[in-house]
């Protein structure tokens, strides 16, 4: 009985707080994405326009690690019994990825373009039974500066 009460408490807290934080994070992501929209970004090796001699290029990177909440963990483990799309983890990777790219752009300073963007994902497991604790996304690219 005590187990069940603790469980229900955790899952309710996880759901309410987790959803609130997620909504807040998405709002922030959307605002910052709009603000940084003008910075040309590509995953190709080609740069935009003609690049004058003396242009400085530099490796820039951004990383973000997002944790799963208790509700999502339970929802995912239910989903794993039946198979199919694990929608509770989708927002997790989406948020981590967009946040990592935003951090990369914000860290690029007065770069006039970002080329050859690459992303890698890794899951930081809690160890016990391979359950996910968090996922980490690392974004890296080359930033071009005028001087």
């Amino acid at each position: 009985m005590i187990d069940l009460i603790i469980f229900l408490g955790l899952i309710t807290t996880g759901y309410v707080v987790g959803q609130t934080l997620e909504r807040r994070h998405y709002r922030a992501i959307e605002q910052r994405e709009a603000a940084l929209l003008a910075l040309p970004t590509t995953s190709t090796k080609r740069s935009f326009g003609t690049v004058p001699p003396g242009t400085r290029s530099e490796l820039v990177q951004g990383a973000c690690c997002i944790s799963v909440d208790y509700f999502k963990r339970i929802a995912a483990s239910l989903r794993q019994l039946f198979g199919g799309r694990v929608s509770s983890y989708e927002t997790l990777v989406d948020r981590a990825r967009r946040e990592a790219i935003l951090r990369l752009k914000e860290g690029a300073g007065d770069a006039h373009q970002i080329i050859n963007l690459r992303l890698v994902t890794s899951s930081i497991t809690k160890g016990q039974r391979g359950q996910v604790g968090a996922i980490e996304v690392h974004a890296y690219a080359t930033a071009l500066y005028d001087h």
Partner: protein, 275 residues
């Protein structure tokens, strides 16, 4: 090449449905499937135990006494008296196979039926009784569990539960804690029905041996006093045994229905009991 950036209108990388709308159907489906599987496996166990006759059982569990986790009292007049009492009841209950009696040196008020034809009475129980009839009822109750193969059912069901929760907890141990209450509710109601059947069989044995069912409730009255003394008892619905008051009423009702005499004879005193 010019740069003409545009943000996507909506996020294609996350599902649009509400998280709870996905969660609850999955949760309900999991619980239902789990209960159906455990229930069906329980029925299979019930079928299987009818194929294990007492002889096969005593062969399978020949080494069982060595595994007691309590101290067994050395043979004495007391154990001989208890064995004799059990053998007489056995005849009444039409159980042609031998049952071995043992007394555990423990203050607990309890008795057990163990696989392999072993009944264990705790010394706390024997010391707490005043009349032979009361003790005979408790022994007959345990013998009835043997006759009904309840001890094997209990073991089989236990194994099924362990296996089923291992499958579930393979994905998450938290899921198990969510399913356990539902299962223990079912297990408790099953166990309560088995206890009630054993009570009824024991009452008949008492009638057969003494021609009077007086004193059958002695243990329950003793336990009731213990409980009244402030020992917290767990919620009735989760308990493996029916409530004491209900058990007494059920016994009285049964005695009335079957027109068993009660209290017409003085109960036999018990020389080996505590009081």
């Amino acid at each position: 090449m010019d740069y003409s950036p545009k943000l996507p209108e909506h996020n294609v990388n996350v599902s649009q449905g509400h998280p709870l709308a996905e969660f609850f159907p999955l949760l309900v489906a999991t619980i239902v499937i789990f209960l159906v599987v455990v229930g069906l496996a329980g029925l299979l166990v019930d079928q299987a135990v009818t194929y294990i006759d007492p002889e096969l059982e005593s062969e399978l569990f020949a080494s069982s006494p060595a595994q007691y986790d309590f101290e067994v009292e050395a043979s004495s007049e007391r154990t001989a008296f208890l064995q004799g009492l059990a053998d007489e009841l056995r005849v009444c209950m039409e159980m042609p196979y031998p049952i071995t009696l043992a007394i555990a040196a423990s203050p607990q008020i309890n008795a057990l039926a163990l696989p392999g034809g072993h009944v264990v009475g705790f010394s706390g129980l024997i010391d707490g009784m005043s009349w032979e009839n009361g003790l005979a009822f408790v022994l007959a109750h345990e013998l009835a569990h043997f006759k009904h193969r309840d001890h094997l059912r209990g073991m089989g069901r236990g194994l099924v539960l362990v296996a089923a929760s291992a499958v579930i907890s393979g994905s998450s141990s938290a899921l198990t804690s969510m399913l356990t209450p539902a299962v223990s509710l079912g297990a408790a109601s099953y166990s309560q029905s088995r206890e009630a059947a054993a009570d009824a069989a024991a009452l008949e044995a008492l009638h057969c041996k003494y021609g009077d069912v007086g004193g059958a409730e002695e243990l329950f009255r003793t336990l009731e006093q213990v409980n009244d003394d402030g020992i917290w008892s767990e919620a009735h619905y989760f308990s493996s045994h029916p409530e004491l008051g209900e058990r007494i009423l059920a016994l009285q009702q049964l005695a009335e229905d079957r027109q068993f005499a009660s209290g017409t004879k003085a109960p036999e005193p018990c020389h080996f009991c505590g009081n």
